[in-house]
């Protein structure tokens, strides 16, 4: 299933709708890494509210996605991880170290806006 990517201001929002196959995730990664450059986006939000399982592959892919996006000059925020999913992830030993997280889309956008404003000021 294709993940729709929306442009909202200077940010990209990828809203995952249902359980993804590994191939879907890789496609999402390629699309985001490409579009960050094309739209000169400063931030990317990946909304995982719909994911009821995050195993090591999904976590690893999200992590490398965030790192690639960083190399392309944008921030990534992962939002909407469900409490049960978070619980299972840490038991499995999976973390999203170094990547910003937010409760939901609203929080994610607020976080990115704060960051972007701060970096604009500091320039």
């Amino acid at each position: 299933m294709e993940v729709p990517i929306l442009k909202q201001g200077g940010h990209l929002i990828a809203a995952i709708q249902a359980a993804l196959t590994d191939a879907d995730l890789i496609r999402l990664q390629d699309a985001l890494v490409e579009q960050v450059g094309r739209y000169r986006s400063k931030g990317v939000i990946i909304d995982v509210t719909a994911l009821d399982v995050m195993d090591s592959f999904a976590t690893r892919t999200l992590r490398s996605m965030a790192h690639m996006i960083k190399l392309r000059g944008a921030e990534t925020v992962i939002c909407g991880i469900q409490p049960e999913v978070a619980f299972a992830m840490v038991q499995l030993g999976l973390t999203l170290e170094g990547i910003s997280t937010a409760l939901d889309l609203e929080e994610g956008l607020a976080l990115l806006n704060r960051r972007t404003v701060n970096s604009n000021q500091s320039v």
Partner: protein, 136 residues
Amino acid sequence: MEGETRVHIGSEIDIIEARERGRTIGKLVGFHPVDQTIIATAISEIARNIIFFAKQGTMSFEVIAEGNRRGILIVAKDSGPGIADISMAMQDGYSTSRGLGLGLPGVRRLMDEFQVISIVGKGTTVTMKKWVAHYD
């Protein structure tokens, strides 16, 4: 809920099918939502190992009872290359650094009982159980 149900693992889509099957059975047996997610996560990891290392295999699910407690039994079988050193594969951190870890120690933490039998060149069988925790 009687007998066992089996899922053929041959492609990534089967991973999703397997974990959904596990979650459904988990719900029927009476697992707490957190435990349903934990079971689905464990299934996902093990099913993925089958795809990565053996290309294909099967996963079977069974409702089990022992005295007063009930639970789920999951058996994953493949005829892949097998694991040469199981005790090493069960150590935390083994090969996870390379990014394609077996993740076995993590899965063991998720489940109540966990056993791996592997013969090099013949295949691997992972047997895992989880019991319903009493929340009633």
